[in-house]
Structures are given as structure tokens and as C-alpha cells.
Symmetry: C2
Subunit: 343 residues, 2 copies
């Protein structure tokens, strides 16, 4: 009950703000990028191969032995002139994705990156180790091969269609969930954002994120999906450096036994629509709620918003790309202000 | 002789501008990103494997068969409020790199992206097919494996050290070229920008760039290294859409037989220092000069600047990350203005 009331109060505020952000200039005192973390790996004793470097070209030696820079991560930052957020805001994407998650939506609207920069947050948007501009290590360093999502996989797994025959190779014949807020006409653009992922790199990913936190924080985290797992794991190790956490459909939370470490860190957890009938997401939701409950049991703050309960409906797992993305961002912004994290 | 005189006139102008850009705000009417190009590839008849998705977890099926989105490319754009460039400026990075090339330098200064946005250019900075946020295709679609640069490789190949025993695993014992402008103390940060590359994907990369040109141009191109090859190849196919080309140490140029197609496209080619004693770069330089000569023989404009000839010394292959990067950007900007491409 408490959960719904918190959400309802925020929703009233959200609806009262016109979302005409696109016309507003973005004024930055700086922007740029850097890599953080990583290590130099040594490859020894591997066979020298002969390869053809250009089609029709000569066979030349490829010696895989030597030192390699591996497991760094990429961070791009935008620093608004009129800073209102009291700490930097770190955006961490989900599995098989990159920081592109928070940039323009697949149907070409402004994403959450622009939204929160315009609200006065110093935003640090990153690509985790192995993803996007972070690069990835060679197979002599990471033993397994990456996995690749099929074109149809997220359509049902991310709650755009309902998983019961909703997919069709012909876009015109697909059956999205009734009332979906996902821009289904831009599904192809969304799938262009997907990148491969490895199954063996979680420790390296967490090490990269820890290096980022040690460089930039104290800070506030905005986590999505698999970024939620990494975010809570990192926050449990650096609770004094994390001043707030917004976890959007975290998949999943941290270690419940460590949740009391976050008793001084205000946490907001958000879930979208169509969750309870979806085996995967209903399970993750329960795990996330249990983690929030453990924070509260330790005397901390863990607010929970089911978006449909506050009248925000139709959301897929990619909430920040759905057509009502600004409305959800506004709910988050108002929560951050309510916790004293932004003017 | 003509080559040196053009450069000298620009250099005088360059030296007269104070490079205090860092303090100036960046005012944008918009920013965002998109993917362009790509195709849906079908994988059929491959064996279903059993894999372990989490350490210690159960063995689960991995079916590689199905449709995949492949060969798209990534583009991030920054649109200054006070637009002065008459066309969008497309930045294309070199081999084994991404658009990060043009962002902050490895030693944390503003890169050419910020420079040209502040000069009023709509900048479109991209990651080619297979690189960074473009993602890469699975091994059932691309038959070969990517190649990885060793940690030391660019030190000598990109003219930071001289290639005769200049490298040492201990940074303090390395012997950079006398007078190098590369920020040698940040070599590790530079190597964190490197990403794997494939040797079989040139056609897909060119197709991605063509899709970008067809979406955004008419435009001006700013090309680096391998991006020069792709840029000239694309310009030869879309000469009416390209209003100017700045090729920075292109490796290498397009097809000399097609150079006359660029007779209406003003071209500037730039090379840094230590080139003539380096077997690789002295060869590329000759190829690039021959391409420029072929454009001129057809009645076109191909200016050539050897930076040392105009008093800008010490430049490695990564000119836009060297300590005098703003000075070189200023030379480029003045050339663009001189060709009527910017106010």
C-alpha cells in the first residue's frame, strides 16, 4: 500500500509537467570521454599463424603472443552549465546493450541522457567491459565465445509481444501486447543497438565499474536490467560513495545478505507493465522486492513503483525507449529531488 | 613548392589564434545517436549447443539458428546552436579504433569533436561496422576471427617510438622519438581506445558508410587513416554529395582511376612528422600524393600539407590526440573556411 501511495504522489507531479524538452537548448560547460580500469594481459606460448590480411593478398604471420590491454570500460560525460544535481549521475545499461540505451530512442526522440542533462545532472554514460567502445579481449585471454541474440529474441523476452505466437518475420504480422508503449515501428532500429555479450566476464565488468566509482563518485546511479545486478554489487562494496540508486527493472538485485549495507542509500525500484504474467520478469520482480525489503528491514529507504499502479501503462522492459519515456524520467527526477539529490 | 606555400599561409593564421577553447561553453540545439545500414542475416542448419550461462549454473541450450541484425553502424551527432558550417561534418576513425578517436585526448584534453562543434559544425561522429557501438556479427555470418593489436604495436607503427628498440614494457625505459607531440604519459589510456578488427568486412563497412552518406549528406568528411580509404571509396560513389574532404594520414587513398570523379570536391591531405623515414607511412604518403595529383590532373583541388613544413612538428599518426591537436584543428578549420564551407 505504501508502495502505491508513494508512486501516486509522484505521478500527479509527473503529469503536471509538459514534456516539451526537445526544443530546449543543451548548454554544457564540458563534454568528453575516457576509459577506466583494465589490465595488461600476457599471452605466451601460442602458435604463430599465417593469415591473409586482404582478399587476394599474401599470407602473412599473425603472432598472438605478447601483451594486450584488456577489460577497460568506456565512459562518456556531459556536464551542464546550470548544474542542479548534487552528485554525478552514472547511467549503467543492461545485458547485450551499451550506453546507447540512454541516447536517442529507436524512433528518434530524445532519450534519458538528454532529459537528465537538461535537468542539470552531470551525466556519465558508460559501456561496460566487453561492450561497445569498451572493446573486448582476445580468445587467449577470455576463454569463451560471445553469445548473440536472434532478431526476434527481445520481442518476447522484453515484453513487446506476449510470447505466445506474437512474433512474425513480417513486421506487419507481429502482434504486440495491447497498449504497448514500445515504438514497435522502430523495432529494427532497436535491434541495431544490440551487441554481443560474454557469459564469463562478470568479475571483469564489476572491476571496471568499481574503477569508475572510485574515480567519479560520490554519485547517484541510474541502473537498467543487468546493470542493476552490477550496480547493487558495486554499491554493496562502496556504500559510502553511493548517494542514491534508481534501479529500472533490475535483473536482478544484489546479495540480500549485503542489503543492510545500503541502509543509508535511498533506493528507488521501478517496474513497467505486463510483468506479472511474464515468468522471467515476475521472478526478477520478486527478487528485487525482497532485496528492497531487506534494505528497509535494516532501516533504509527502498521505494517501489509499479508504473501501471500510478497510471503509466504499456511499458516494455526498455522503459527509457518507450513512447512515454519522458513521463517516466519525470517520475525519477521528482524522486531524486524528493530525496534532496537535486535542486 | 605550391604545397608548402599553401601550408605556410595557413600556418601563420593558425599561430595567431589562442587555443583557449576549454573554457568556452558548448551550446547545442540537439544531440543524439542512431544506427544506420545493416541487414538481417539468416543462420540455418547449425548445431544446437549446450552451454553454461553462469559459473556453476545448469547446462542450457544455445541454438545459433535464426535471424540476426548485422552490419549496422553507429553515429552520434552534436548540433551547435550557432551553426556556421554549411554542411554536416562527418568524422570517420581509423583501423582498430572507433569514434572515440575524436573525443577527449588520452591525456584528457578536448578533442577535435569539441573543437569543431565549438566552431559551429554539425558533427556526426561514427563507429564503423564491426567497431564499438556498431556491434559485430556472429561467426556464422562473418567467417573469420577478429585480430587484436598487442600493447606495443601502435607505439612503433604509429610513430611514437622509432621502431628500432624504442619499446620497453617499462614505460620509464621507452624511447619516444625526439620532440614527439604524442602524450606519451597517456599511452595506456590511448591503448584502452583500441578495439578488435576483422579483415573480411571492408565491403560491409563501405555499405554502412554509404547508408550514412545517403541519410545525412551533402556533407564534408574528416577522415583519419583507414577511414581515408573508406572515405575516398565512398566519395567516388557519391561525388555530388561530398562538398569537401579532409584526409588526415589516409591509409590509403581511393582508386586513382576514379580520382577524376572528385574534380569538384575540394580535398585537403595532411601528414605529420617522422613520415619519410618510416617504411609504412612513407609508402602511404606516396600513394596519397599520387591520388591528389590525379584529382588535380582532372582539374580538381587537392591541397597537401606536410605539418613539419609549416612549423608544426612532432606529430605521430594520432594527430588529433597529440599535444598540438588544437593547432592542427585550426589549420583544418581555416582551410574549410577558405573553401567557403564555413562562415
Amino acid at each position: 500500500m505504501n508502495r502505491i501511495l508513494i508512486g501516486a504522489a509522484l505521478a500527479v507531479a509527473a503529469f503536471s509537467t509538459a514534456p516539451a524538452f526537445a526544443a530546449e537548448d543543451i548548454v554544457l560547460r564540458g563534454m568528453g570521454s575516457f576509459h577506466v580500469g583494465g589490465r595488461i594481459a600476457e599471452v605466451k606460448g601460442k602458435e604463430v599463424k599465417m593469415i591473409q590480411r586482404q582478399p587476394g593478398g599474401p599470407m602473412t604471420k599473425l603472432d598472438p603472443n605478447g601483451q594486450y590491454m584488456v577489460e577497460q570500460m568506456y565512459v562518456q560525460f556531459f556536464l551542464p552549465k546550470n548544474r542542479k544535481g548534487k552528485y554525478p549521475l552514472l547511467m549503467w545499461h543492461g545485458g547485450g546493450l551499451t550506453g546507447v540505451t540512454f541516447e536517442s530512442t529507436p524512433d528518434g526522440r530524445d532519450g534519458w541522457l538528454n532529459f537528465f542533462v537538461r535537468k542539470g545532472w552531470d551525466v556519465y554514460n558508460s559501456d561496460a567491459v566487453e561492450r561497445g567502445r569498451a572493446g573486448f579481449a582476445n580468445p587467449d585471454v577470455w576463454a569463451d565465445q560471445p553469445i548473440f541474440l536472434t532478431y526476434q529474441d527481445p520481442y518476447e523476452r522484453f515484453r513487446i509481444g506476449d510470447g505466445v505466437g506474437s512474433w512474425d518475420a513480417d513486421a506487419a504480422k507481429r502482434k504486440p501486447l495491447a497498449g504497448t508503449a514500445f515504438p514497435v515501428e522502430a523495432y529494427e532500429n532497436y535491434m541495431k543497438q544490440a551487441v554481443p555479450r560474454w557469459l564469463s566476464t562478470d568479475k571483469a565488468i564489476v572491476a571496471g565499474y568499481l574503477a569508475l566509482v572510485d574515480k567519479i563518485c560520490p554519485c547517484v546511479m541510474l541502473l537498467h536490467s543487468q546493470g542493476g545486478t552490477f550496480g547493487f554489487q558495486v554499491a554493496e562494496q562502496r556504500p559510502d560513495k553511493i548517494k542514491g540508486i534508481v534501479a529500472v527493472e533490475a535483473a536482478t538485485a544484489g546479495n540480500v545478505a549485503n542489503a543492510p549495507k545500503l541502509k543509508n542509500v535511498p533506493v528507488l525500484q521501478i517496474f513497467g507493465d505486463y510483468v506479472d504474467q511474464h515468468p522471467r520478469w515476475s521472478t526478477f520482480k520478486k527478487v528485487d522486492m525482497a532485496y528492497g525489503d531487506a534494505i528497509k528491514a535494516a532501516g533504509g529507504t527502498a521505494d517501489w513503483i509499479n508504473l501501471p499502479d500510478i497510471g503509466i501503462k504499456g511499458n516494455s522492459h526498455m522503459l527509457m525507449q518507450d513512447k512515454n519515456s519522458d513521463q517516466i524520467a519525470d517520475v525519477i527526477q521528482k524522486w531524486l529531488v524528493s530525496k534532496g539529490l537535486s535542486d
